[in-house]
Symmetry: D2
Subunit: 211 residues, 4 copies
């Protein structure tokens, strides 16, 4: 296997990329000049040295931007260190990319925790798939700051629902003891949904959540 | 224009059908035998003589099936004459096809009213697009039977929202006077929605309707 | 089953139509006025009484338009009776819709024969699927008028190739005896094809037919 | 802009990649371990140092694999140095990826020249878009080895046809003087094409190239 084929193989592992598009990526890189390639490699290096997983919410963030704000010896992201955010609300999401999308909407002002994935249905060892321990640890620490509600911000599909169940179980004793409300994102008609094509599950939720 | 082209022209007006598929329909009919064609034409004739618009909800229904149940001189559909349905709840939908889909889910046991369409945004004469008068008349009659809530069961898009506004305005004096609640189908994550791809409107509703 | 459901069932058999679109067709018809429905039914009746299968090429054509030109007692379409068309060339196509598309291009001035379908691979009784006898009969009659070449105008897929083989076999003794050339439509790059995505079969033909 | 956003920006320039998928790539890299990232960067470095543009055909090839075969001081790819290939045939393609696809089919045994792109319609300086000079130089050298035919292996679309015209013009004096045939890949029905949906251009070519 030559250098072209080896790089095609690597790009083929990227999310959503098949061998044909991987090949186009490789020829794209071949025809870039040296400065471009250097910048590309530098940015990859930079990413790995700059990006840190936040001690609290576990999301990945850029240290260089955070530097000034960080408490010495503890690496926290800009959301976790933002005093203007609401410490009574914690949203649990599966991936950084979900958190990014919610942040972009500017509609949520609480804190987050990133599970690191979803649990496939029937998976017997969810603690190997998602960060349940870290989640419990953060929730414990947030209790002191007045945490009142945990929102499960998970995909509205089978994996999301199975993961929600596992997270609820993991949180049950803490939430009962400290009277923490556990809520889920509202189900119903999402933007653009036409009634003619709605599935029964969505109709059920739209009726239940009417108001 | 010959008979093939004339029928292509008619089929091209059917919802979602372009001239290419219309042509395939015509050749499909040409190659059917006489019995098939007779049955097809009979069913069309039957449809027009059998189908009646319900006096109350305005939906189209088959008279032949209803015959036994109908009060003489008043044509009512099987839902409007069904005593087991909840007279305190009325759902207002835009089209018969929406009503059919909700009925198929077996999740709603109240009554319906079919507006006959949606009002395009900025349309100045909504009463020409939707059956506002008939709606008010039905609501008045249902007040005597204990109507408590009107659910606006409209598409979650711009036309649906504009139509909801017009319907609310038309109902406002009656609903205030008789303390009728006017609700809308819940918005939020519909089945299958992934957070990564959710629009801000859906995130806003999913947060608002969490529970 | 009521009249709505019965007509949905019929429309669901139309090419490319599922039950959801069939339902939309039925509601579309319900909301048309009586004049529209009458015209629709009349055109269907008209189609069946007006459309005749051409004695020679077997395609379906409108008699009313042809009337003046027809030799009494023999029903021939406008192409088969057109003296300006080239009697030395015969194109064999599978369906009327293929013939229509080729005619629309104004690129072929010979005669046609419509097989009435394609033969599924491994089908043991091709004579029940396609009009082989009628084809041989037409070819025999065209020999007297100077037929020199038969073009197999069939789809470039497995069924088309299998049908071509069967047609070739059926024609073999006639074509050998009378030195009739049997050709097939050229294979190669169709409009819009990009080399990057071409399959080996297409590359092979494009190389073979280069010029 | 932090390191995540900077790398998203770079990936967004990759062929066919928008900002959403670029973001997924970045999170994919963040969650890889150090060994993976090192290998990825090494392969990119390797690619740039290993890949050379062939002196003759201009395609990009891996030097490490070619090393043994190369004539000292002249960098030629495995196809250009392969004595079993036919020196009387030269195919001119626009991009390496087209050459790769044709090679994969094992249907062409001549030589290649890679133009490096296609010329956009109405572009006034084609020599800045494609390697016309290098092409003429290779053709001149191949004349001595018995070159007889140049095949224009370009996409069957407007840009491909415009580029073919420019290449023909550039080659005209050489081809006339030395009686070199210039051919184009055959046009017609590509695999899977159905006659019902064929455009007039394809029908025209399929008729012309029938056989």
């Amino acid at each position: 296997m030559n250098s072209i084929d080896r790089l095609i193989k690597i790009f083929s592992e990227f999310p959503g990329i098949g061998p044909k598009q991987a090949r186009r990526f490789v020829y794209f890189l071949i025809t870039r000049n040296d400065a471009y390639i250097e910048e590309f490699k530098n940015e990859i290096t930079e990413l790995k040295s700059d990006i840190e997983s936040c001690v609290d919410c576990k999301r990945y963030f850029s240290q260089s931007i955070q530097k000034g704000k960080n408490i010495i010896g503890k690496k926290l992201c800009s959301i976790c260190t933002d005093d203007s955010r609401d410490n009574t609300l914690l949203m649990i999401v599966s991936r950084d990319i979900d958190l990014d999308n919610i942040e972009k909407s500017h509609l949520f002002n609480g804190k987050y925790f990133v599970l690191g994935g979803l649990v496939p249905i029937l998976d017997k060892e969810p603690e190997k798939r998602i960060r349940l321990k870290d989640m419990l640890s953060l929730v414990s620490r947030m209790l002191e700051k007045g945490l009142k509600e945990i929102i499960l911000g998970l995909d509205a599909n089978a994996e999301g629902e199975y993961t929600a169940e596992i997270v609820r179980n993991a949180l049950s004793s803490l939430s009962e003891k400290y009277k923490i409300k556990i809520s889920e994102l509202g189900r119903g008609l999402s933007t653009g949904t036409e009634l003619e094509y709605s599935d029964p599950e969505t109709i059920k939720n739209a009726l239940k959540n009417r108001g």
